[in-house]
Symmetry: C2
Subunit: 456 residues, 2 copies
């Protein structure tokens, strides 16, 4: 954020620039690499380091480690951050982290192994080191880890003029702040005043008289997911963080909350699909296998349930082999319906549109919609089955099984995440696997069971 | 945001309060309902209206329409916003929208039918009405719709003192602003200064000398999804919006961008599951059927492809009916693997970790991981198949088919979203259906094909 950098016009990272940088790295042309990196935002330099191959990354870091500052480190995906820090000369790392706010240092530290952590802690000034170590004492994923320690506080009885004089004289203001926090003598936050309102008020106005009515604090131990929800729900820009005795310990700003919201969403999508929540396209094959294999093995066994169900009806299938061909249609369409219902429910739980107040109504709505979908699909499949297979009884069985399975899918899709949440688990936790197991088993059972009764 | 409201302590909406409000509504006790609504944030009142049933909502609105202000309307889910506006007396609606920033009015208007739109436009003062109508002239989902017209701009050559004097005298400042935008005489934005930096600088410092280096503008026609990405990527708090000739037309603030990010994520999750992107648990059964039936019908036909594949092997199945029982294991585990790979790829495309620069590397990584997963699963399934079914040749066929299908799943899971994106479509667009169709068809084909060769 040095002021003399303002002159460089920022450009976005596009394919042409990535290619140009790669070529310059190949040629070992460090001046050209520096020239191409210079106008990029730290977040884009981090993206570049993530997109190029491991070999290119190694060469680039060797050529111009000086371009990697603290902001780049804090933007890097944790998968490769450790590797980058290891390759940088200690003095570059020290220089890089010294410019960062404490919350960014904490963010970098928490994913590192002990030796790399020590390297960074040693580089900090004592006061920053203490702040960072205090933040690290809060649980991972808590507001205490997310907050910055730097806050602008003033006594609640001050006037606008007092506050402006104070700010003009202060030497250690945070890089970015949007509010002045009013505190009592115990440093308990009581309210805040936006800088905009302060600037447009007369000097003799009391800060208390122009404070925002939309004031909230969060506890340092609160989960960051909850914090992100509060920011989004109440349109906060910044929010004071307090300890158990309600004393101010830091401030969280909306850009950090937005980041958490973004990450939580990504995790939900991955969990829903049965992938470890930290999965990234930047992971190597072995890390990828480790994230995915567990649920695949679980699915291998749950899928065996379907096999067990089908094997009970081998006699039925033996007498009409066409059944084996059409039975996956019922199971598969059920799987899609279950996934649809599930996605809507997981989303609604995240946005708190689905709560215990309306759960019963939502389940009923799902089952009704499932029944209607089932009827329409049954009509199409029944007709098609009758025409193509030339067997109207088989068409009827297909249609009936479809209705049953669509209702089961709609019901299961909303009940599985509701139950997971009730038991304090993440409603997205591999619920896809549970729901498709349910629709598979029920699909085969309904179809083959009905076939045995009707056709034999 | 009236200052006298600051005294009421804000509480969060919990189950107890929802129940208490419901009971008061049942009793027709409008004083009690008002008392219980008063300490709630507008976003929580909106959530309450969404969670209660249609009948309760009608009664609540009849009892105390006065508690519904513009902020509540702008927080309401569009599914019920129209209903609420229709039930409110015209003067309440008029009063409500007059307090809102133009971007919030636009947000409300764009989902309404023409008569309700007219009702709101008529309630606005002329200058606001013109601003709203101008914003409505930008395409839906564009930055022009998202921005507020109210911006604080000053000539680039001003000093801090000039700006502070100007702000002190200004009568029409926005509710919330965090930057002063520097413009040239054509009102082209050239940079901005944070209020914090302005407050702590000397009065004779030129604004140009303390401007942020992290300055960006967006075009009014840019998509809001792109805008949200820019805010999150570059940690912006507010961003000027310009027209085609680079003149300032408005400002977008991060709370609106965060909202867009949240909505886009929800849409991705729904699209991936094959549900219309506007689906909500608040929709009625008919709206739900309309959002889901199309993809279910598509899936009915794609699932028929699997049936077609299986029917080609009826002779094989007839000679060994156990094949019909175990074949879904291969297909189902492939479906899960494809979904895993898909979720990681869709997420990576959204965060731009997956670009054309590393697509080849990521695909190779997926296929490698798929092959390893396939080998492990094949070992388990082959052994299990041999032991349970007492047929080592059948175990071998299961194992080989599993390897093939895991590789297909990993490849398809990343290629489908990459292709959709290449063709300018949303990579999440029902890709789940495509990928599971692929893994189903390949699963049955590989297993039954190998069984025909090896076992017969």
């Amino acid at each position: 954020m040095a002021e003399n950098e303002a002159a460089v016009e920022k450009v976005e990272l596009d394919e042409t620039r990535v290619e140009a940088i790669r070529e310059a790295v190949d040629r070992g042309d460090s001046d050209e690499v520096s020239r191409l990196l210079k106008p990029l935002h730290a977040a884009d330099i981090a993206d570049l380091l993530e997109q190029i191959s491991g070999g290119e990354r190694r060469e680039l870091l060797a050529l111009c480690s000086g371009e990697i500052d603290g902001d780049v480190l804090s933007e890097l995906d944790e998968t490769i951050r450790e590797e980058v820090i290891e390759r940088l000369p200690p003095e570059v790392v020290a220089e890089a982290v010294r410019d960062l706010e404490t919350d960014d240092v904490v963010d970098i530290l928490e994913d590192l192994e002990a030796p790399a952590q020590g390297k960074i802690l040693d580089a900090l000034e004592l006061v920053d080191r203490v702040a960072v170590e205090q933040a690290m004492s809060f649980p991972e994923g808590s507001a205490g880890r997310l907050m910055q320690r730097e806050a602008v506080v003033v006594p609640e009885h001050w006037t606008v003029g007092d506050a402006i004089d104070y700010l003009r004289k202060a030497t250690q203001l945070p890089d970015q702040f949007y509010h002045v926090i009013l505190v009592d003598p115990r440093i308990k936050p009581l309210g805040y005043v936006t800088l905009g309102r302060m600037l447009s008020a007369r000097h003799d106005v009391r800060l208390k008289d122009i404070e925002e009515d939309n004031f909230r604090t969060v506890k340092a131990t609160q989960e960051e997911e909850e914090v992100a929800y509060i920011f989004n729900q109440y349109h906060l820009i910044s929010c004071p963080v307090v300890d158990d005795s309600d004393r101010l310990v830091g401030v969280i700003t909306i850009d950090d909350a937005m980041n958490v919201l973004d990450e939580e969403h990504g995790e939900d999508m991955l969990l829903l699909a049965g992938v470890g929540e930290e999965a990234s396209v930047l992971d190597g094959p072995i890390a990828t296998v480790r994230q995915r294999l567990p649920w695949l093995v679980v699915n291998l066994f749950t899928a065996s349930l379907s096999a067990l169900v089908i094997s009970r009806f081998e006699a039925t299938i033996a007498s009409l082999v066409a059944l084996a061909a059409v039975m996956p249609i019922v199971a598969s369409t059920g799987g899609i319906a279950g996934t649809q219902s599930l996605a809507v429910a997981v989303r609604a739980l995240a946005t708190r549109d689905l709560t215990s107040s309306n759960a019963r109504r939502v389940v009923l709505r799902e089952v009704t919609a499932g029944a209607i979908n089932g009827l329409v699909l049954a009509a199409i499949l029944g007709l098609l089955g009758t025409l193509v297979l030339g067997d109207s009884w088989l068409g009827l069985v297909l249609a009936m099984a479809m209705i049953v399975n669509q209702i089961v899918a709609a019901f299961g899709g909303v009940m599985v995440p509701l139950m997971l949440e009730r038991f304090g688990l993440d409603p997205a936790l591999a619920s896809g696997t549970f729901v498709t197991t349910l629709t598979d088993v029920m699909g085969y059972l309904a179809f083959l069971g009905l076939a045995t009764i009707v056709l034999l």
